[in-house]
Symmetry: C2
Subunit: 158 residues, 2 copies
DNA sequence: GTGCTTGCAAAGACTTTGCAAACTT
DNA sequence: AAGTTTGCAAAGTCTTTGCAAGCAC
């Protein structure tokens, strides 16, 4: 049972604990939205999330998705990935500890998440200069696909 | 005459050349919008730009600002600075050659632009791993103001 | 039962677009 | 004169909000 794996249960429990700790209620819609988010291996938009949530619980409405997103972000179970494209993206926060950078292919608009531990140190150094305390950092690299330019196709489904 | 400085003339000429090279027309509104953008030492939103443009040429409309922004960005005279705050920001591209990072104060939402030449190397290295060719990079550090937390005030007008 | 949550539809915020008049070339 | 560009207002897109009914506790 994929939906009952050990990890899934742990994630759900974390979310439930978070809701309780905030005096919020555990609802089927919120759980469906959480599961839908973790069902995506990739980045997703609010609209994607609505669609996937509805496959799990058809009663989920757009409003509920938009209301759930800030909660999921605050709980650190998902994070916002704003890459300056048309839409805002989100993704499940599977490895919250390493600093992640995004490489965005401008040909196919695919977003790659990569570890960039060095950034962490650098960002802190930079903020120290301004006497600010770092909360979060983002490194985004926009790039185009060499393969696509040459061969007209990109192996990574660009 | 501030509006007739050497730099200003150079910028205007660059823009005019760009327009001509694209078969677009040189209009007072477009020039007003360009001047307004370079009149800001800081980041600005589309709405800010409308307001400032109208001080130069009161006939500038919101639609024209929105139509001019992509042209100004394509000409590299301004660039978009998307920091994931409420609005999209833009800024004059005064030093296009150095990689810029943004440090965003989450207390006052002020945005500091800093040089981060090392990022450039790092971003390229990272993109090379994926066989992509770097177009642009952004490093954004969100931080909060220590002074504000302690003293309730921030010298840099946080 | 109490009061947080929900879905719906309407409202909001920001941006884009259709059209006739005005302007650049 | 020919064809772009403009301002206006309307339409779009994405997101938020008000409200009464429904649900978790």
């Amino acid at each position: 049972m994929n939906s009952e794996s050990k990890t899934t249960r742990l994630i759900r429990q974390t979310f439930k604990d978070f809701l309780v700790s905030k005096g919020l209620r555990i609802t089927n819609q919120r759980l469906a939205i959480l599961d839908a988010a973790y069902d995506c291996s990739d980045h997703f938009t609010a609209e994607d999330l609505l669609e996937r949530s509805r496959e799990i619980d058809s009663s989920v409405s757009r409003a509920t998705v938009y209301r759930a997103l800030p909660i999921l972000i605050e709980s650190k179970l998902i994070r916002q990935v704003d890459v300056g494209l048309e839409h805002k993206f989100y993704m499940a926060n599977r490895n919250a500890n390493t600093f992640q950078a995004q490489v965005i292919c401008s040909d196919c608009e695919k977003i790659f998440e990569i570890d960039a531990p060095f950034m962490d140190w650098y960002g802190k150094t930079v903020a120290d200069k301004l006497a600010l305390h770092v909360e979060s950092q983002r490194l985004q690299v926009t790039a185009h696909c060499d393969e696509l330019k040459v061969a007209g196709v990109c192996k990574r489904k660009c």
